[in-house]
Structure formats: C-alpha cells, structure tokens
Amino acid sequence: MTHPPSSDTQAMRRGWSDAALAAEVARAIPPRSVVNLGIGLPTQVAEYLDPAACIMIHSENGLLGVEGRPTQATLSPTRINAGKESVDVRLGAAYFDSALSFAMIRGGHVNLAILGGMQVDVEGSLANWSVPGRKLTGMGGAMDLVTGAQAVWVMMRHADRSGAPKLLARCTLPLTGVRVVQRIITELGWFSPNGTHFEALSLAPGVTLCDLGDPALFRGGQALPSASGAASGASDL
C-alpha cells in the first residue's frame, strides 16, 4: 500500500536503486500495452512510462487509463487506484464496475501484470499474499491477475529484510498461482524461471552471477543486454 521504506542493507546497495528499477521496467513494457501495476514497487513504474508509448494502466478497482497524480485542485476521492491512492487519468480513460474489470483480467484482455512478490520459484509459481499466522492481508486481485493476464512479471527485492532469498527452488509460503510468472526483476537483474533454475536475462551494472545467491539456482542466459530485449519477450508470453 505504502511504498516500502528504502533500505540501507548491503543487498539493497548493490544493483539498481528503486527509481532505476522502476525506470528499467517502464522501458521494457511494449508500446500500447494494457498493464496492471500491483501495489508497492510496481506502482512506481507508472512514473517512468514514456507518454508516447501509450501504455494504458488498468486498475482493478474499475479504471483503465491511470496517468500520474492529481494536483490539489483535481484531487478527487472517487478517483483512486487499487492501492487506494489518489490518481489522475489520461484522455480515453474509462470507469467500470468490478465484474467488468475482472472480465478484462480473467478474459485475457490485460497484456501484462507487474506484481510485487514475497517468493517466486524456479517453476514460476508465486507467493505474494500471505504469511500464515503473522499477518492477515488477503489476496485481493492478485490470484485473478496471475491467472488471467497475458504475461506476469514480478518486481521485488532480491532478498527480504532479513536477507533471506526470495527466488527459491520451491515457494514455502501459500501460493498466489502455480507456474504463472514469466519474468522477475529485482535490483540485481532480469530473471526467467525455467523449471529447474532461474535464467539471468540481464544484470544490473556491476552485478555478477556470484551476487545472485545459491549458484545452483541461477544460470547466465543468452546475452540480453538491453531492456528492449526483455520487452519483446513480454509480447510472446
């Protein structure tokens, strides 16, 4: 809901800053996509989109065409995103009810969902909604998004606050969806879960394969230096 506080742990210092990460993801989104941005880190991607790319941001509370923030003058209590934050909208935006909003999602009309994550495993399964016994949140629209969006990217930190890895052989937390994630981006790079390991598609400046964690889980992928390469992947997925 609120942006996670910036951390000063060692893991956070390496690789992209939050802003660079958001910009990196924004560049990778194919023009004219309809994109749903999850709560937290993904929400920040909206700030870095090229207006000429005509990305339409879908917000599952019933709004297509989110763009930026309001001024004090245009602030409206009925114009919010799924994080319940005030937003502005672009020309061509539309409002609708929740049934139609999830018809868009479940029916495969949303090109890309970029979600936050607690854990992703090598099969592409995602856990991002529940830590049993510790905190009660609810899955919200995440299960529908991972099931229905044409492509699912997870945007998260490489490790949690305690330093524990979030890219795993097998998720241990309750799942949001099974084999649903095509791309993972952390401050260290872009990754693709390949069934038995994570392929590193590209790495942030100064990051090497040795920085990623358990060497058995990570492999260098075919050279994929540019963000546009990652982007072209999105439309295939």
């Binding site: 319940k84 934050e85 609708f96 049934a99 229905g148 799942l175």
Partner: protein, 256 residues
C-alpha cells in the same frame, strides 16, 4: 441462497415524484433517511456493502447500523472497511460475526478480531468475489473459473479441466445490499462517479432488499437513459444522504 430473508413488507416511503404520502405515490422507493430505510434490517442479517476501501462506501447506512446496534451480522464487502472507518466501525463495536472479502490489509480491527477468534472470515479472490455476486444476482447458480487453482482457495472445491483446470464457484446473495451512488432518481436508477462504482451495481442485483443512498436525488428523467449504471429494477429503497466524508486513504499529489 441465504437462510434468512428480509421481510417482504417495506417500511413507510414517501415518493417525491407524486408529492403524496406513502401509498399513493408511483414507486414508493424514496425514504427520508437511513433510519427510515433500514428499520427492518435485523440482527443476524447477511449484508453486502459496496465500496473499494473507503471509496464509494454507504456512509450513512453504515452509521445507522452502528446507531441501531444490530448484531451477528454477516458482512460481504471487498475490504470490510479500512483504517478504522467504514465497516471497520462495526467490527470495533462487535456487531460482525462473519466476513466475506478479498483484502483486509490496512484493517487492523479485522485482523485483531480474526486472530482472537471473535469472527470468522472467508477470503475470496477479488475477481471471483465480484463474479460470485454478479452470478447471485443474475440467476447463475455456479461457474467455473481458473482463478485460485493450486492455491488454498481450491480447497474443498470441484476442479474440472476445460482448456485449463478451473474451480467451481457458487453465486452469492444477501438479505440487504447497502450501496452509495452519486446520483439517483425515485425509481432507483443510479449513476456512480469515477471509480466509486466498483461492486455496488453488482451487489444491487444480488440482495433481497437493496438500499441505495445518493449524494443527489434527482428528478426522473435527469439521468440519461443510456448512462444509468444501475437500473432501478435492482433498487428497492433510496434516500439522499448527507455529511459525506468521502475520505481518501492515500492522497498523493503530483510533485510540483
């Protein structure tokens, strides 16, 4: 689909379209206020409430439930309030027995009561939540959806393979739906502002008695007939509310 039903007999209504007292007016749906519109909402009722977080919630109807003190409610609402506001007030006052919702982050009252065993909770994926309500209102008894396969949501549910595995989910109905719209007329036709629409038009279809509160009660014919978001056939009672707070949970402004 719920065991308990609201009484068929409606409370007293005054209809501004005829100007006459109760009984002589055309539609008999307009009520003076929340108190008049909700006299028969009883303890133990199953109640749907529109709104996403605090956006589009029926503030006046919720305040009336708090004032009346009806208990043992089953609440069906996406968030069951937030930040101590909205339906969270009914949690704090101990009026809720069971809640069905999709997201409770930012609602510490619900979290605390759930872990204390003071209420039971059914978490439903938001799209399935919306679709179950729509189905309940549209006479669709059940449907197969791919959402939730392989997760805890699938526990105890039939799984069937179409082009991919799907869960069987059932329609959801309530005794009362409490919703809020920007504008409405004496027939109960409603128009919602911006993203305040969310679940409200769906809930209107799925309750025995739908009570709509509006910021502006407008004359019949004011709302363009093509642009009515919820036709009055789904609304049994309507009143003009007042003193709306319309809180924004996270007001974030453009960087100067």
């Amino acid at each position: 689909m719920t065991a308990e039903r609201a009484p068929a007999h409606a409370p007293e209504a005054v209809d501004p379209e005829c100007g006459g007292p109760s009984g002589s007016g055309p539609f008999l749906k307009v009520f003076a206020d929340a108190a008049a519109a909700l006299t028969d909402l009883h303890s133990g009722a199953v109640v749907m409430s529109g709104g996403f977080g605090l956006c589009g919630i029926p503030e006046c109807s919720i305040a009336e439930l708090l004032r009346r003190g009806v208990r043992d409610l089953t609440l069906i609402s996406n968030n069951i309030g937030n930040r101590g506001k909205g339906l969270a007030q009914l949690l704090k006052s101990g009026q809720v027995r069971h809640a069905i919702c999709s997201y409770v982050g930012g609602n510490p009252d619900l979290e605390a009561q759930f872990f204390a065993g003071e209420l039971t909770l059914e978490l439903v994926p938001q799209g399935t939540f919306a679709e179950r309500i729509r189905a309940g209102g549209a006479g669709i008894r059940a449907f197969f959806t791919p959402t939730g396969v392989g997760t805890v949501v699938a526990e105890g549910k039939e799984v069937r393979d179409f082009d991919r595995p799907c869960l069987l989910e059932t329609g959801l109905r309530a005794d009362f739906a409490l919703i809020k719209a920007q504008r409405g007329d004496a027939y109960g036709n409603l128009w919602f502002k911006e993203s305040a629409r969310n679940f409200s038009p769906l809930m209107a279809t799925a309750a025995t008695v739908t009570v709509a509160e509006v910021e502006e009660l407008v004359p019949l014919g004011t709302l363009p007939a093509e642009d009515i978001h919820c036709p009055g056939i789904f609304v049994q009672r309507i009143y003009q509310g007042s003193h709306y707070e319309n809180a924004i949970e996270y007001p974030i402004l453009r960087s100067p």
